[in-house]
Structures are given as structure tokens and as C-alpha cells.
Symmetry: C2
Subunit: 440 residues, 2 copies
Amino acid sequence: MASKLSKLSGFPEWLPEEQLVERELCNRVRKVYESHGFTPVETPAVELMETLLAKGVEGKELYGLQRYGAEPDGEPGLGLHFDLTVPFARYTALHLNDLDFPFRRYQLQKVWRGERPQKGRFREFYQFDADVVAREMLPLCCDAEMVSLFVKALKATEVGEFEVVLNNRKILLGLFESLKFQPAVFSELTTIIDKREKIGDEASRELLLALEGGSESQSDELLEAASRSFSAASVGQLREEDFSSDVSKTGVRELQEIIALIPESLRENISVHYGLARGLDYYTGIIIEGRFSQYPEFGSVGGGGRYDGLVSQYLKTSVPGVGISLGISRMMDLILRHKLFPTVQKSCSELLVTVLGEDDRSRCIQLAEELRNEGINVEVFYKSPKLGKQIDYAAKKGIPYVLFYEETGSTLRLKNVNTGEQTEYEGVREAAKAVRRASD
Amino acid sequence: MASKLSKLSGFPEWLPEEQLVERELCNRVRKVYESHGFTPVETPAVELMETLLAKGVEGKELYGLQRYGAEPDGEPGLGLHFDLTVPFARYTALHLNDLDFPFRRYQLQKVWRGERPQKGRFREFYQFDADVVAREMLPLCCDAEMVSLFVKALKATEVGEFEVVLNNRKILLGLFESLKFQPAVFSELTTIIDKREKIGDEASRELLLALEGGSESQSDELLEAASRSFSAASVGQLREEDFSSDVSKTGVRELQEIIALIPESLRENISVHYGLARGLDYYTGIIIEGRFSQYPEFGSVGGGGRYDGLVSQYLKTSVPGVGISLGISRMMDLILRHKLFPTVQKSCSELLVTVLGEDDRSRCIQLAEELRNEGINVEVFYKSPKLGKQIDYAAKKGIPYVLFYEETGSTLRLKNVNTGEQTEYEGVREAAKAVRRASD
């Protein structure tokens, strides 16, 4: 009785050699996050549905949970988290008295969104976040550090040339206010600005005019402002005077202050674009987005920003935060489609012990144990066919060495699978040393 | 407007210092798995509901997914996986032609079960699995390796004294047959034997008698057999002759052969118990279970076994497998309740750069960058209060060093937070070397 076998669209899984690429990618980012003293935290994949609905995502993208075949039991509705920021804010508020502030954590977990799958867009995907939150006051040097961290993390991935675009939600907010849009449509306005680059100015203008009380002059002025950007070299040209509203002026000043606190060596990838909006609605200050320049079709591969109200919604005190998020699964899609990383090795084994006959097996197992005690990863072949077959297996898996077990004495003969060269070593320690040297 | 804040029962999350314990625990197990050449693989948390329902779990423990507020759209039913073996079998069958066999993988992921939460039992929890599958034939040396791996992994956790209990489903199956139980109740019989230790012989007998066609002599004989166990020292006393059925005899012979292929140094923790049954119904040969001797109330902290039909159900060829699984979240509960691991450090930072005034900040940031380039994890304090406050922060977080930034020259003054000792170093490289040396 054959069961159905099918790949679920939008739920990626990798072959072993691809999985090793994802591990390497995550390790590169983790190293950067830890070098700034961020510490790992995880939250459950499952949150109260009301926690998820409170902030920043369309309900229909949420996955709710239902125990199979169970009667409704009056338990509160549960759902899968759609990002790591909302759960982190809930975590911070819940454990407020057990945490030391400023609290700096990173978080690598899967999130779920019921979107239509497309290039680089999955229903289950890894995000790799870093955030810092503090009590009462979080100075702008923290925003600057998060931008620096974002630049360094993207650089560390070694995926390719990238650009990091900054803006400040306060600039947009001030614009909305000074152009006399109704506060009720601010959230929609943000969404339109966010889509602008994709749908173009004409389509954006139509959406703006369709808003309650939308006028042509308003729309044109907003789109004009949203088209302005400043490359790394011209970032010094940001001027408060370009805006009439105090809120926008504050936004510009904050950006200037933040950029001044980013080490110069990291600034070349950074630009400011007044048209950057970001989709999620919890941001209140700086917003950040990253793209790989050669692969514009993958869109944003990460982003973040300042959120002053996300933790505080649960509390009576203020707990502002700022964070970044890297789209690991989207990067993986990009890396695999463009074959950017080598995928030679399919195994963690560094050495295969060949077995010439089943009578030798116990002694081969013992020898493998001794080699493992010297710190190398060893596999004993599971059957005892002709040597050629066993060497083929090592070659196919990318295992660099095979060991020929012989009963006589303590001499070990190793074959380098890539070069074909054979070398004899006196004892387990010497052999292990040679393998370790090769894999360093 | 304060939102609701509550901890979801059965969905554990850890404080930063506890998270570092979980990371250490997982690293210890990972190191053992990799030393045997197992390679990491992940599968989506989400599978087709029919894949999950096909094998081994009660439907009501499954969590199904439903897009929030969405109309039923005719898409196939999705659910969260309840273990890692069923998805791994589906993965192996789906990617059969892209994998090299024997295929050895490990998998560390969360799984979900809608059980009533209790001590060591969660609704969302980590399992850490290792499995090997092959085409057509998987020799018993693979079962032996998985038992060895299980023993070594439990030892590596350093949680405490442990015992590993083995049995063979064939022994139970042969007993059921020779005692003339109806094949229709074999699955129920396994469940009763599995519960026997918890509910006692009397209650078990009642359950057996309640089965269709159950008789007193049958029940007594089965319970008698299920009570027999052999400690490490007496494992040599396993005798085929104790059983009348050929299937049971084969089961005994397999156990003997498997134990003979386990290095002697790993055998002392192993015993055989004919009453071990394991809950999941996909096992067909050896079954394995581990317990920490001092903490019987936590029950099994891991287990596994041979499954000959799990991959093959999707295919026309045979792909037998054998694997083990460690209950990481259950171990975490045990470790935290009994304070078995030290939880001193709350941060990945190795050094805090203190900031005496905001005018110094840019230079402190630059200095931190230089120290990170030397490979140490550095945090710059986010404000510039009195030094004492900054040192207190380092002490609270378990950051071992603080650096006092001074403008004069290249001399760096470090304070060891634990001892209070201050030392001066000539240049960034020397200072970094001292910090690295201390954390090694």
C-alpha cells in the first residue's frame, strides 16, 4: 500500500549538501551577532492568536492551530508566529523582571506566513534576528549599532555586493501630517509607499487618490518626496530644511546622528531613501532594508527598525527597541539558484574505515572509537564489499580520507580520496593528526 | 491600552542564561553525532495531515493548521509534525534518487503534540534524532552503532547516571502469536505492555482480559515474560530456547548479535528488558529506551529503534532504517529543576567597553571594532553613566572583562570583573590575547 508522496509548495527542505550550506550561512551571521555580545534566545513557535493579530500582519496570512478532530474546548486560540519581533516583545514584557537591560539577544527560528509561494518567498522560512531593548530610554547609538551589525552580517554572508537603505518613519509621518492626510489612512499610506517601487508612480498615485480625502497635489508632493534618495557619498546632504514638519525634521536629525555613529568603513554600502517604508506597522523611528545588488528580483533580504511601542503595549513603562532581521531562507533560495556556494561535501565524516570482512568488524569499530577520541569524525562502512565500492562511497559523499584496516601492527594506511595518494602513519594519534591538518 | 500577557502552558521558553544551557546540551550531543559522521538535515515543521495520521500517533494529539479567517480552499490538510522519524522517512522517500546510501543524518528540531502538559512533558519540544537508512538491506551492525551512539550521547550530556534498556519488537510479536492473541489486538497489546511499568501488573492483566478473546493463562504468561530483564552483567544469559516461536527466537538472536558489536566500554549501562515496548507503532526490530537513574519521575529521556516499513510505505523498494531520539526539552526541564548545570553567564560578551562621555563614543566604537577583529565578543556600553554602574552591568551579565577607554596612547586597561584585578596591555592585540586566554 503506497502512501502519497509530494512536496509541499512553500515549505522548503534541503538536500544534505544544501543543508551544510545553510549551516555555514547561519554560522557566518551568528559569528557577527555574537561578536557584538548578542546572546541566543528562542520563543515558542506558537503564540496566542490575539498577540499575533495585535500587530502588523494581515490576519489571512496567519496560521491558526486546531487539535485534530478535537471538539472546541474553550482554550484560547493559538497560532504560529509570523515574525520574531512580536514574540520577542511579548517575551521581554513577560520576563521583564528577570532580564538585565539593555537586553541584547539574537534569535534564529522559523516563522510561518500563509502567502502565495514565489521566488524567494516561502510559507515556512528562517529568520535570523538581533534586537536590543532597554527600559525608559534607548539612545540612538543603539540604532547605529544595529545598522552596523546589519552591514557586517550581510558582508559576512559573502553572497555578493549589497546595499543597505535607511529611512525614518518619522519623516514619513511628518509628511503625512503636513500634507494633511487623515490619520485614519496613515497605515494605508505606508503600505502604498512600501509598494511604490514595485508598482510604479502611476499606480501609486491612483491608490493615493482613491483614499478618503485624497487630492492630486497631496499625492504628487508625497510621491516626489518618496522619490528622493541619497547615496553613501551624498548622505551628508540630508537637510532638515527640506521638510516643513517638526516630526520630519526630527527624523532627519536622528538619521544624521545615527549615521555619524556608524564606523566609516561600514558606510559605503549605506544610502538613505525617503521612499523606504517597510510593510510591518510597528516601526516608529529608523527603518532599514538590505538587498543584494546583482539579484534585485529577490527584493529585500532583510530589514528592521526602531519600535518604541511594541513591548510597552503590555506594560505601564516604556521599553523601546531596535532590531534587524535577515531572511535566511530567501538567501538560501538565491544561493542555490545561482550556485553561489560550493556544495561538494555531503557528510560530516572526515574518514571512512573500510571493512574487508565481517570478522574484522569489531576491531574496525574499536579503531574508529580510538580515532574519534582524537577528535575526528569517523564512519565505519556498513557492509564489507570490495574495496573499490567502499572508496566510491567515500568519494560520492565527499569524505576526504579512507583507512585500510590491516591486522598487522599499529601502522595505519590512509588514502586521500581526492589525490589518490596513500600514506602510512604510526599509530592512531599520528593518523588523526594528518586528517585534522587536512580539514583545517 | 495594555494587551494580555500570559505564559502558554506546555510551550516552554528559557531565560538567556537557561538558553545558553540548552545550547551547551545540544552541542554536546551534536559533537557525538558528528563524530560518527552523521550530517544535519531539517524537514519542514509542516506535513500533509495524511502523512502524519498514517503512522503511530493518536489523531487528537496532532495540531492541524488553518489559515486564519480564510474560507476552506480545497488545499490539502496540513499539520505540525509530532516526531522527526515520520518526516524523515517521507524525506528519504521523496529524495531517494538524490541521496547516497547508507544515508546517515541527524536532525534537531521542535515537534508538537497536543498532550496535557506535565513534568517533563510539553506541547512544543525539541527532539534530537540520528538515523541511518539503506536500500534493500541494513545490517545489524547499524543497530549496534545506534545503540552505541545513544549511550555515548547520554554520557556526553553529563546529566547523570543513566541506563539504556533494549528489547526487540520481534520478541513481543512472537509472544503475541505463540500465545494465540488475535492479530487485530497486537497494537493494543503493545500499548498495554508499554504502560505496564507505570500501571502495574494487576491493571495490565485487567486490560489484557478485556481484549477480545483474552484468557487468564495468556495474560499471565505474557506478563511473566514481560517481567524478565537482564542487567549488563547477565546479558549473556539471553537464550533463544526461552521462547517457542521462531519470530521471538530471531528477536533474541538479533539482540545477541547487536550487543556483540557494541564496544565493551559502552555495554555497562545497557540492559535487556522483554517488557520494553515503546509507544509508537512503526518499530519492527530492536527498540531502545534511555532513563536517568536518579530521576525516574522524568521517565524516558530518549529512545528509538528499527523501522523496516516506514520509508518503504511510499515506494516499491525496501528502505529499512534504525534511529534514536533524545528528548532535549525534557532533559532541560530536568536540568533546570535540579539545577544540574551552572547558569552564571547571561551573555555572549567577553568584554564591555565602558564609555565615560558621549564625546568618546565614536572612538570607543572604533576600538570595539578592532577588538572584534581579533576574535573577541565586545559590547560598548549604551550610555555613559558613572563607571560603577557600567561595571555592575558587566558583573550582572557575567561579562568577564571591562575595558576603560582612555585617550592617551595605545595602552589598554582591563579589569577582571570577577577578581577585581586591573592589568594594562600594550595595544589591541595583546589585550585580546589576554581575554581569549581567559575564556579558553
